[in-house]
Symmetry: C2
Subunit: 232 residues, 2 copies
């Protein structure tokens, strides 16, 4: 009996603290193993707790994934937004900052892409995940809408429909992000950024007539029309 000191076998934590630790462990597992990482055994091992603790703090596995989705999405969005919404820059340059932040190595991490694939694949089957996706994607669009709105207010761009424009720009960004994550050798982030810059410049010059608020064309582009080199 060299010591009577009692060594605790485990540590009791506040539910909020433990939940956050479990979310962190979940993210690590998702990055490392992708779909195979979504396992209570792997996650609890990564968090250094027993298997049963997850179901003590979360209703089920998908609840844990949903909270991880929301945490990660809001964290990344906040990081990008902090870099973009710097009042020291003009609205146009804030968009440039947004682009460069969107294609930073930290965001283009292939592991991060696989995490997103897991979330996306659960959208169809889990109402919880679907709700988180809807919410976070809406916030993402709002940030873009805000930046584009500041562009119009500064007079750098003619008035256009903010929402469709934000949707289109986010589609362009997402598409580049997907392709860069899947095929990093085909092209470079700087090329993606360049196209995004040109896209905004074209928008500022009224290059997207259907997005302008001047008038609403009755019909979309059709193969039967002969608008071969039409101005829109």
């Amino acid at each position: 009996m060299a010591s009577k000191r009692h060594v605790p076998k485990f540590h009791r934590a506040t539910p909020a603290v433990r939940r956050e630790a479990l979310v962190d462990a979940t993210l690590r597992c998702l990055k490392q193993f992708g779909h195979e990482g979504v396992s209570v055994r792997r996650i609890s091992a990564a968090a250094g707790v027993s298997i049963g603790l997850i179901n003590h703090h979360f209703p089920s596995k998908s609840g844990l994934i949903a909270e991880t989705y929301e945490t990660l999405a809001l964290s990344l969005l906040d990081s990008i937004r902090r870099q973009a919404e710097n009042k020291a820059f003009s609205p146009r340059d804030r968009l440039s900052n947004f682009f460069r932040a969107s294609f930073a190595p930290e965001i283009l991490d292939p592991q991060l892409f696989n995490v997103w694939l897991v979330f996306w694949s659960m959208v169809a089957h889990s109402a919880e995940i679907r709700a988180v996706h809807f919410s976070t994607y809406g916030k993402y669009r709002s940030v873009l809408e805000s930046l584009l709105g500041q562009l119009v207010e500064s007079g750098a761009a003619p008035p256009f429909k903010l929402r469709p424009a934000a949707i289109a720009l986010s589609a362009l960004l997402d598409g580049f992000w997907v392709e860069l994550s899947l095929s990093p050798t085909v092209f470079k982030p700087r090329e993606a950024i360049a196209v995004c810059e040109d896209w905004v410049n074209a928008l500022c010059q009224g290059g997207f007539p259907r997005l302008l608020m001047t008038h609403k064309p009755k019909r979309t582009e059709g193969a039967s029309s002969r608008r071969v080199r039409g101005h829109g």
Copy 2:
């Protein structure tokens, strides 16, 4: 003994025929169950054969998935290409056909999106899948490059770098496709098509200076430059 007729318990098929049947069954399972559908038991049940037959015709499960990926990707690409490359239309209208084919209900099927997510999630871990992705994505880009090249040859657009333009356009298309598949209620396919049309029109008018072949700008858009409403 009412009948001496022998009723076969199963049917023997040519390896090529059986492989095709297994690929078809795999696609059905992937559409219906997503990731959960990637199971030799589910697939063999859908094909009406025993569990062991898959490993008789395919080296492993990922081999079967890879062949399914290639078959589906080439099938869809061929379908879209047939609608686009109609010589009765002008090069510009062929692109319009390509856009409308890309956002047809058959392609926007949410189940089809989940199938793609399964393929994409295996790109990182399986060399076979990665090879198929690289090959089919290259062919997809080639079709776009060809259509854009015809646009230049017809004089409808100034000379520009075909490859980066095709990459950018495919990113825009993919991004819309992802967003439409995940959030069908946020916007409509016709809006996506309209933006694509405007994008090509802007391209024809030289709205993407960095894609033109006239000269190569030394520097990309930077936050430090004051090109707020620059012409590119």
